[in-house]
Symmetry: C2
Subunit: 217 residues, 2 copies
Amino acid sequence: MRIAVLGTGSVGRAIAARTAELGHRVTIGTRDVATTRAGDHAAWMARHPEVGLATLPEAASAAELVVNATNGSASLPALTAAGAANLSGKVLLDIANPLDFGAGFPPSLTVHNTDSLAERIQREFPQAKVVKSLNTLTAELMVRPRQLADGEHTVFVSGDDAEAKRIVTGLLVSFGHTDVIDLGDLSTARGVEMVLPLWLRLYGRLDTATFNIKVVR
Amino acid sequence: MRIAVLGTGSVGRAIAARTAELGHRVTIGTRDVATTRAGDHAAWMARHPEVGLATLPEAASAAELVVNATNGSASLPALTAAGAANLSGKVLLDIANPLDFGAGFPPSLTVHNTDSLAERIQREFPQAKVVKSLNTLTAELMVRPRQLADGEHTVFVSGDDAEAKRIVTGLLVSFGHTDVIDLGDLSTARGVEMVLPLWLRLYGRLDTATFNIKVVR
């Protein structure tokens, strides 16, 4: 698949490197290519020559699947810069969390309870097929789940388009996930985004980000 | 221990029956004893003669540990009826979820993100030692966790008083819980209350309430 990963943070890098390793053609999209090339992303790029770098609209337009790996507060502007036409008809895997660090750590959520970032993105880009997933675990576990308890833990998918969820689920399984629960329509993204307050407290308490929740049933 | 369980719903009944079975002296507190005796609670009482029934203030005043097993929307009025003086200095185990069914199923939360029901209760009753716990799983699993995966799943405690958390943790372990995570101060109750939107969707999806989350680490 041709995959565009929007965002150069730890999540974007993990997804880009892993999908490229699995044989996909991957381009990271960034707001300003020259600035990204000149910044601390340069060393990562040197280690990952198989991953391309392009502007947000260039990356999105060439892709079949677009990954939103931007910060939650930057997601709507970044996707707007990528261009609605370049997202139209495509699977848009949204991993972002709408965290508000305005009052320090732990952050609260800017969207919650009766709405979610994923639904906002879907409303703003109605032609995209938004699937929320992977936002409930740390970047390295997203793409290499078997490093923890041999993958015996759970990830979720939420979305209105069954085929888009099927494609994302296939990607998750290729990463090594063994327990992917389809929660239902995109409004179920409220539930997984609202896991973050618990996740953040566990992160503080367990002194590691290498943990995940398993739905035992 | 002398335990007062406020609330005659499935959570109150499960906690009352199990703690009585474990040898505690247990009284259920209800707003109107005569109405409760005459209603559908009568059959349950006949099966559990070891559990007393009293008014909210009577039950609370006689107890060392008070359990808030009321509906989240009724919790503050019920605790007010129980009386601040009767809660003073006592462990107040809060299991309630602040669910808002105003827009049907699934409910949203009336308190969330930068506050929690547990913190509201603590502010309203500053002399009580509020501990949030058990709100993330169904009533029967709260008190008999070993019936699912031999207890291989997680419960949380949140609270400002270390001794109160120790007492509640002891009670949880006596129920059969093997993995009790102390999340920290009472503001961490936001995290566990905000698990409910995910819980409710999983409940719809898995077609059973007999599930729980395990923090795999």
